[in-house]
């Protein structure tokens, strides 16, 4: 049978609050002495792409595995649609997941791999063909998974996630191993899935990637929540300064400092913090100092992210300054 079950997941015990499709509550996962995830709580809502960001080892994959019921939380819980993943019958119709690209038997053909998964959830072979078509693997469907390139295997993982036409999608580092064309493709795919009202959670350790794809970000470090914000808020919030050029820097610096601003000189320009551009302009006018350039600068998201996760990076190349 190939009838796609589009019904929303019915809440089992507690009502799924609207806008909290994926809900992680006080999740802790301990492996021996190390806490991979430490009291993490966040929620993911429908209709947008939520980026799940953190440096390597921050606990992103562990969290995803807990959401999917692969790892049992030490404490806390992870719910999808208000219930534990393992309680969802035929879960592929509700939740699609892309784990690491290697999570397939290398000896099976791409087509058979998908058929095996489809069959376990009562999905017909027609849908398998359609999905192969959709991810651009129709031409290599009869090739063994082991003979596919990393990028193709990544696409195969996406195909598996899409099989049940699910309302919730989890992608763990989907751009890994993809070529630029593939990266563009998966970005567009995630955006269009979210635009259809689905819930999309995508993990990445690259802020730059998320800035292009995600609407919201959940940033974690050392297993703890650092920040949950929209991408816009994030870029608004971080390290704003104003670049000022003047032929009389010493006097302007003194005036700015007197007004409480922090001033740094760099490449013949002044970088001013703690005072916004109109404030600087007024001050300069009052002091009758000429200003040749006045440019408010937002820190790049990448910088914001590095600043956020600075304390939570486990290993860093010795002595190199970013």
């Amino acid at each position: 049978m190939s009838v796609v079950d589009r019904r929303p997941i019915r809440p089992a015990r507690r009502p799924a609050t609207l806008g909290r499709v994926i809900e992680v509550r006080e999740l802790t996962k301990r492996y021996g002495a190390t806490k991979a995830v430490d009291g993490l709580s966040f929620a993911v809502g429908p209709g947008c792409v939520t980026g799940f960001l953190g440096p390597n080892g921050a606990g992103k994959s562990t969290t995803m595995r807990a959401v999917l019921g692969l790892d049992r939380p030490t404490s806390g819980e992870a719910l999808v649609g208000g219930r534990r993943y393992a309680e969802i019958p035929r879960p592929m119709h509700h939740v699609g997941a892309l784990l690491d690209a290697s999570a397939a038997h290398g000896g099976r053909t791409a087509y058979d791999h998908l058929r095996v998964l489809a069959r376990s959830n009562g999905i017909g072979d027609k849908r398998v063909v359609a999905v192969l078509e959709e991810v651009g693997l129709a031409g290599v469907a009869r090739r063994r998974v082991g003979a596919l390139s990393l990028g193709m295997r990544q696409r195969l993982g996406v195909a598996a996630a899409l099989l049940g036409d699910p309302g919730v999608l989890l992608f763990d580092e989907p751009v890994n191993g993809l070529d630029p064309e593939g990266i563009r493709w998966i970005r567009r795919l995630m955006r269009s899935l979210a635009a259809e009202g689905r819930t999309v959670l995508v993990s990445s350790h690259l802020m730059g990637e998320m800035a292009l794809t995600a609407d919201r970000v959940v940033v974690v470090g050392r297993g703890k929540l650092i920040l949950e914000a929209s991408v816009r808020e994030l870029s608004d919030r971080f390290r704003r300064d104003v670049l000022v050029r003047t032929p009389r820097p010493a006097e302007l610096t003194a005036a700015l400092r007197a007004a409480g601003a922090t001033v740094r000189e760099e490449a013949g320009a002044l970088l001013v913090r703690d005072l916004d551009a109109p404030g600087i302009a007024d001050l300069a006018a009052a002091a009758r100092l000429p200003v040749h350039e006045l440019t408010p600068r937002g820190a790049s998201l990448e910088e914001a992210y590095l600043e956020l996760t600075d304390d939570s990076v486990d290993h860093r190349a010795g002595g190199t300054d970013r």
């Binding site: 999917l68 993943y85 393992a86 690491d100 999570a103 038997h105 000896g107 099976r108 095996v116 376990s120």
Partner: protein, 255 residues
């Protein structure tokens, strides 16, 4: 559940290793038949006093031990290839109820092994009959067709048992190499070690090794330590313990 069984059946059919194992079983059958044929040819040219000392030209003698190992590999690979490749995570995301996954795998591997075991055991016994023709015992293994079919059933059970044992061990150990070493140890090393023990423990424990359960099940073994019922119970215990341990690990440990 039926969906998951269908999926597991397709899993088994869609990998090359299953084909290779069937081929290996066929080669074992051919080799066993070749040995039976050579024995029979030798019998025909031997004087009567030597003929009395002949064993029976039954290919099963060779096919069952090798077959047991191959069946064990079949059962083990159904699990360990998934752990080795990471497929297990994909499988558990599509079927998160682990009990269901275990039951479906057990049904498919066990059911398939019973059918395949019957085919292999019958083929071995019948080819032996064909080769020995109307020659008398001891070169002919069976004096009646009832004896033949009871041996076929017991051998099929001994083969299928190893598939379940391999499956259970696979869930416990998760590694192909580890599971195959364990199977080899159980089938080929343990019997030798056990026979080094002081009497009467050598024979008592030897009787419990998986290779000698089938002849005790039919009562064909001379001077057996176990009654047929006892041998049957030991077989059930092997399967129950290994699958039980496999279930405990699958249900408790992270994938």
């Amino acid at each position: 559940m039926t969906d998951v069984i269908a999926s597991e059946w397709l899993k088994l059919r869609s990998v090359r290793s299953t084909g290779y194992l069937l081929l290996a079983l066929l080669l074992t059958l051919l080799a066993g038949s070749a040995v039976a044929y050579l024995m029979t040819a030798d019998w025909d040219t031997s004087p009567p006093q030597q003929r009395a000392r002949f064993g029976s030209a039954d290919p099963s003698v060779m096919v069952v031990p090798f077959g047991q190992f191959l069946f064990g590999v079949l059962g083990a690979l159904a699990v360990t290839s998934e752990y080795g490749s990471g497929m297990i995570r994909t499988a558990l995301v599509s079927v998160p109820r682990r009990r269901t996954l275990l039951l479906a795998k057990t049904a498919v591997v066990g059911g398939g092994a019973v059918v395949l075991g019957l085919v292999v055991a019958s083929a071995a016994a019948l080819s032996g009959e064909l080769i020995t023709g109307d020659r008398p015992a001891p070169i002919a293994a069976f004096d009646s067709s009832a004896a033949l079919w009871s041996a076929v059933l017991a051998n099929a059970a001994a083969l299928a048992l190893l598939a379940l044992l391999g499956l259970g061990l696979g869930f416990v150990l998760r590694s192909t190499a580890g599971t195959l070493v364990a199977l080899c140890g159980l089938l080929f090393v343990l019997p030798v070690l056990v026979l080094m023990l002081p009497q009467p423990w050598d024979e008592r424990l030897y009787a419990l090794t998986p290779g000698v359960l089938a002849p005790q099940l039919t009562g064909a073994m001379a001077d057996p330590s176990l009654t047929p019922w006892g041998a049957g119970l030991v077989m059930v215990a092997y399967a129950a313990v290994s699958l039980g341990a496999g279930a405990a690990v699958l249900l408790r440990r992270d994938a």
